[in-house]
């Protein structure tokens, strides 16, 4: 069991951060992190060493997260046109404890569509390679490059618009 402790404390912060980006709720992120490590440890003999261990654990975390998100699909409320997703209030705003710009980055990334969010988190934040990201997302390497480019363009645009909006008030 000691190796579980080692693995948990070596990787769990990273896994927690990945999941938190995806679900936007600290308590749920803790639960899914826990589930990820239980699954990882129970299936540790399946790790073949062909990829980095962290990549393998992130893949498990992603599966756990997607299973959770599937169960949280929004309910559409149709008689009235403006009511939308029902979700946890914590999703809307969360202090990530970083400086203002990084907090803004977090907010922008959190509000992106899932595919953009995932590719930015894996490629730019978790710093995985194109190949590792492709393996986790089940995409071709070309698609990873293309989606990273598009997601970063969108992020840059949103950050720029915010800066310009701030400056216009000065």
């Amino acid at each position: 069991m000691n190796d579980f402790e080692d693995l948990y404390f070596q990787y769990s912060d990273r896994i927690y951060s990945y999941i938190l980006f995806m679900v936007g709720d600290k308590e749920i992120a803790e639960d899914l992190t826990q589930e990820t490590f239980v699954k990882m440890y129970r299936n540790r003999d399946q790790f073949d060493g062909k990829s980095q261990f962290s990549t393998w654990v992130i893949r498990i975390a992603r599966n756990c997260t997607i299973d959770y998100l599937r169960k949280q699909r929004p309910i559409y409320l149709w008689p009235f046109e403006k009511i939308g997703t029902i979700t946890s209030a914590e999703t809307v705003e969360m202090n990530v404890g970083k400086n203002e710009t990084v907090q803004e980055l977090y907010d922008h990334i959190s509000s992106m569509k899932r595919s953009y969010k995932e590719v930015i988190v894996l490629r730019k934040i978790q710093e995985l390679s194109v190949k590792e990201t492709a393996s986790i997302l089940g995409w071709s390497e070309g698609k990873v490059k293309m989606m990273t480019h598009r997601a970063m363009e969108k992020l840059r645009l949103e950050m720029k618009e915010e800066v310009e909006a701030d400056e216009s008030f000065r």
């Binding site: 069991m1 402790e5 769990s12 912060d13 990273r14 927690y16 951060s17 938190l20 980006f21 308590e27 803790e30 639960d31 826990q34 589930e35 490590f37 239980v38 699954k39 129970r42 299936n43 399946q46 893949r59 498990i60 599966n63 299973d67 599937r70 169960k71 699909r73 929004p74 309910i75 559409y76 409320l77 149709w78 008689p79 009235f80 046109e81 403006k82 009511i83 939308g84 997703t85 029902i86 209030a89 999703t91 970083k98 400086n99 710009t101 990084v102 980055l105 509000s111 569509k113 595919s115 730019k124 934040i125 978790q126 710093e127 089940g138 071709s140 970063m152 992020l155 840059r156 950050m159």
Partner: protein
């Protein structure tokens, strides 16, 4: 490296409460010791749903085969003693499975080049898939399959890959050394069909990137409708726990939005996890910035107003979604779905008011045919590349209707077959007839409505076949198969 990239790295590890981290660690360790099932306990309590995967996908699969040496051979009494020496069909671990649809078998070699594929990577499901593919399997023989169907490619940890495909009949085909082997079995719901459901569900997930942002958090989730109704401040009707077919509850909420209180129920059908119908009943003052669909607002008039058993229903269409909205005294109701058609939604309205005694659901088309009060010709259970999705009949003593919807991995839409003893004039009056053709000595009306082709004909009963994204010749081929025409 630019500044944005550097800032992004700062998000690699987000601040985490040390107390929560240690608590999570202790719980994980405890679960490992106790060998609990994979359920996040606190999460499960909070949302009322265990966090288990969609394991129901893989139920009811039976294959028998024997693998001896380099080739498959028929299973039989003479070979039973070889069981202990039997090699496994899949020796390694399945790392991932690509699922797509397409044409000739050779496409399997280039499945990664397809743009429209789904990847299955859930480790539990992959393990289950492996176990089932390693079950005993019957005879294979060399065949030359044609046509379109579901294609699956298994990627193993030893670097090998295995391609399988099915035309959604009762067979799976496997390409090995450029020879096509056919696997036969008795189960109509084979594993490829289950993978097809996964494919369709996943595609529906992926297209859902435009979810609106949350606007209100004043809501509460319930496990049963009864519990929700106890908390709901008004008397309302609901379609119940199992309104029609194999529908089951997915989620129940009571939501308050300013002065408006709503009960929302989503249903799923069959083995799919995705909600296919949403029901809502609302009471209270509608906020100013909302548009009430039951008001017949000038800017958003209904596409159709239906007089259904004395109740006026407003029918709206939003892309693929049909919405029925109506008012009953102080309660505003709506039922919406992007999967079901108008008639299905009307059945749900009936279920809301407790009138579903005229409806019957069936597991197979053959059962429905046998129970139908008239001689009827149907496309059967596996027309071309389609499989039945929902099968039901309506019979009130005067009007009898058999209704089957089919799904296929090739088409995004649904193939709908209807046979009825009386013509649906209301439906016909909607117009859109584009052709009248003579085919095999019978007269067929071709309609084009809402991006859908409909084929109607009369043969003692009134029949119609309709689908989107389909050619009329494909519909005629199904008719040919129904009547046994060459």
């Amino acid at each position: 490296m630019n500044r944005l990239d550097e800032q992004l790295k700062e998000l690699k590890t987000l601040n985490r409460d040390e107390g929560e981290k240690m608590k999570s660690y202790r719980q994980a360790k405890g679960r490992l010791k106790e060998n609990e099932p994979i359920i996040a306990s606190s999460l499960g309590r909070r949302i009322g749903i265990p966090v288990v995967v969609l394991s129901v996908l893989f139920i009811g699969f039976l294959l028998t085969y024997e693998w001896i040496g380099e080739n498959f051979v028929p299973a039989g009494p003479d070979n039973e003693q070889d069981d202990e020496e039997m090699d496994l069909f899949i020796d390694g671990t399945i790392e991932k499975v690509y699922i797509t649809h397409g044409g000739p078998l050779g496409v399997l070699q280039d499945i990664e080049e397809e743009t429209n594929y789904v990847v299955l990577e859930d480790e539990e499901k992959l393990q289950e898939l492996k176990e089932r593919l390693n079950d005993p399997m019957v005879i294979t023989e060399e065949v030359d399959p044609l046509g379109f169907g579901l294609e699956v490619k298994l990627f193993l940890d030893n670097g090998e890959s295995i391609g399988l495909r099915s035309n959604l009949d009762d067979s799976i085909y496997h390409l090995q050394d450029e020879v096509v082997y056919q696997y036969e079995w008795d189960q109509p719901q084979n594993i490829m069909v289950e993978l097809m459901h996964y494919f369709i569900d996943s595609q529906a997930m992926d297209t859902d990137d435009s979810d609106p942002e949350p606007e209100d958090d004043n809501w509460k989730r319930y496990d049963t409708i009864e519990e929700a109704l106890e908390d709901f401040p008004f008397n309302i009707s609901t379609p119940g726990e199992n309104p029609i077919d194999s529908f089951t509850i997915r989620e129940i909420f009571v939501i308050s939005f300013e002065e408006l209180t709503s009960l929302s129920i989503s249903y799923r059908g069959g083995e799919t996890s995705i909600p296919i119908v949403n029901f809502m009943a609302s009471v209270g003052e509608v906020p100013e910035d909302m548009v009430d669909r039951t008001d017949g607002h000038e800017d958003n008039p209904p596409e159709e107003i239906i007089d259904h058993n004395g109740t006026e229903l407003n029918l709206f269409k939003e892309k693929e979604t049909i919405i029925l909205a109506w008012r009953d005294n102080e309660v505003t109701y709506s039922i919406s779905s992007s999967e079901l058609n108008r008639d299905d939604l009307l059945r749900l309205v009936d279920a809301t008011y407790g009138d579903e005694s005229f409806y019957n659901s069936y597991g197979t088309v053959a059962e429905a045919e046998a129970d139908f009060p008239y001689e009827v010709v149907t496309p059967g259970d596996t027309p071309q590349w389609f499989i039945p999705d929902r099968i039901h009949s309506y019979n009130d003593g005067e009007e009898s209707r058999l209704f089957v919807t089919y799904r296929s991995p090739r088409y995004e839409g649904v193939l709908t077959f209807i046979a009825q003893n009386d013509v649906d004039e209301e439906y016909d009056e909607r117009g859109g007839m584009v052709d009248l053709i003579d085919h095999q000595g019978m007269e067929f009306k071709i309609f084009s409505r809402d991006d859908e082709i409909q084929l109607s004909w009369e043969d003692d009963m009134f029949y119609s076949l309709s689908a989107g994204n389909i050619e009329r010749d494909d519909l005629l081929r199904i008719v040919d198969a129904m009547y046994g025409f060459d």
